[in-house]
Symmetry: C2
Subunit: 306 residues, 2 copies
């Protein structure tokens, strides 16, 4: 109980794992013993990154003990946190998302910035604390930024993300473009993943008033084999929606190379989707050219059109 736990969101992505590892290292180096944990299964992209830099998976944590000291990275909404967060002692938040239902009883350290990745904020925190970033930590941080910005292609990517990647690549000793494409490819390979898991990929829940909706995202190099199974995906999404009582479930099928998204959805929400994206949906789907970011291009229009 003395160690601070550093945790990203459920359905962890490379930023949630990489930033948790980097943040735990920074805290420990600056005198507060901390340990990274994961809130769920590691995805293929993150596994590729961990292996590339010789790191093992952080231990799984499914529930915080009451009073456990916790640092949250890469998320702040309660529904995305490890269970028990309400009675944990959240001592810091480092994030790059909109602020949701996050409240604290006392003042704590909060750093949220509109950059592409949590690791970019941490990069500056290492600088400020004058803590050297070891090779494997630099590797995870650059993996996180490449993952969140889809190697600088996402509209969420900022100059600071690019500068951080370039500096981290030197520390990690990799060619970030070559490594980045290999990592994204490893993550985008869904061929050996059961289709049931496609609809759960990086799924996050959001509140629209009193109701919840979910948005999952599958980022791939080629969407054709996925969209060929559209009916099956709709059925699986509907089953997930009704099991959780969601207002709606969305699945972004994002083409990394073409920089576009086919947004599948279930729920009686054609009018909402049409308002949000100014496009008439057809058969539970809208085609969104140029859209790659859930945070910047999907969730805000949906919330704005509720």
């Amino acid at each position: 109980m003395n160690e601070i736990l550093v945790a990203g969101h459920k359905s962890p992505d490379t930023d949630s794992i990489g930033s948790a590892i980097a943040c735990a290292y920074l805290y420990t180096e600056t005198g507060r013993a901390a340990k990274a944990v994961r809130a769920g299964e590691i995805n293929k992209e993150t596994r590729f990154a961990l292996r590339s830099f010789g790191l093992t998976e952080p231990p799984l944590c499914t529930e915080f003990a009451a009073g456990q000291q916790v640092v949250l990275v890469d998320h702040n909404e309660r529904k995305q946190s490890i269970d028990g967060v309400r009675d944990a002692d959240v001592v810091a938040l480092i994030d790059h998302h909109r602020l949701g239902d996050f409240e604290t009883e006392k003042p704590i350290f909060i750093s949220v910035e509109p950059v592409g990745c949590t690791a970019t904020i941490l990069f500056r925190m290492f600088e400020r604390a004058q803590v050297h970033i070891p090779q494997e930590i630099a590797g995870m941080m650059l993996s996180a930024i490449i993952s969140d910005t889809l190697l600088f292609r996402s509209p969420t990517c900022t100059e600071r993300d690019k500068l951080a990647v370039k500096a981290l690549a030197k520390l990690a000793g990799v060619d970030y473009e070559e490594y980045g494409m290999n990592m994204l490819k490893a993550g985008a390979d869904v061929s050996d993943i059961p289709v049931e898991q496609w609809v759960q990929t990086d799924k996050k829940e959001f509140m629209a008033g009193e109701q919840t909706f979910s948005v999952a995202q599958l980022s791939v190099m080629d969407t054709a084999p996925i969209l060929a199974r559209r009916d099956e995906l709709h059925r699986l999404m509907e089953a997930d929606r009704s099991a959780h009582g969601y207002l709606a479930s969305f699945l972004m099928v994002t083409d990394i190379l073409q920089e576009e998204t086919e947004l599948l959805f279930v729920g009686d929400i054609d009018a909402w989707v049409a308002r949000a994206f100014a496009t008439e949906p057809r058969d539970g789907s809208v085609h969104l050219p140029g859209v790659m970011s859930r945070k910047k291009q999907i969730v805000p229009p949906l919330l704005g059109a509720v």
Copy 2:
């Protein structure tokens, strides 16, 4: 509408004014035109600080236009903001309070730190941006920190607050201890203020579940002349409580030199107060030795005991 407005809380104190001025200056110097505004009447302490450094009061703003770009300093709870904040475009938050009901639609810059004063966070932002702090801005920032920490006496005061004051004193060209005592004295002089205004001093509203309570604070060098009018204060507080429909109204009468607070209250809340402070209240009041901070020593126990 092109200028960003930088605003502190209603019933502004020296931090809400000083940090708004400093932040507007920093934003403007770094390329985003910004202007400080005040959310209400300037108090005597702040007037002393403004005059000491040759500055005029920021213009009053009672309501934000919809879509107005806004930076919030020194507060985040909606009830403490200028009206219309909900439909304004809040682009940044710099604060040292607990996070309340603050939500954003998109990711924005947020820096909250558990230090004694917002100006201490801004001091580091100036450093990071490598922007020189002019004499009058340094003066307002050091006034803010001295005000919030009661010249380092408050338990909210951190090492960083002290270091910032010492550095700012050089830039402002003042002896911070001498200046600070004079400023606190100017603020603590309530002799020419109508008693009706005592109970409104730096009043803030807080949510306890669905209900609202208010906590005002009067920091003085000698509490005797104030506590001599206890019955009158209770009557005025009760009138204010019923006018606003508060669950309860509190007035901290804080002795800066003795470092203690007499906490007056109205509302049927003896049991709540007893639980929060582990002291039986008598005649709508509890004596709290060592208590000077609303944020750290009054609001958390009250919320914890609701």
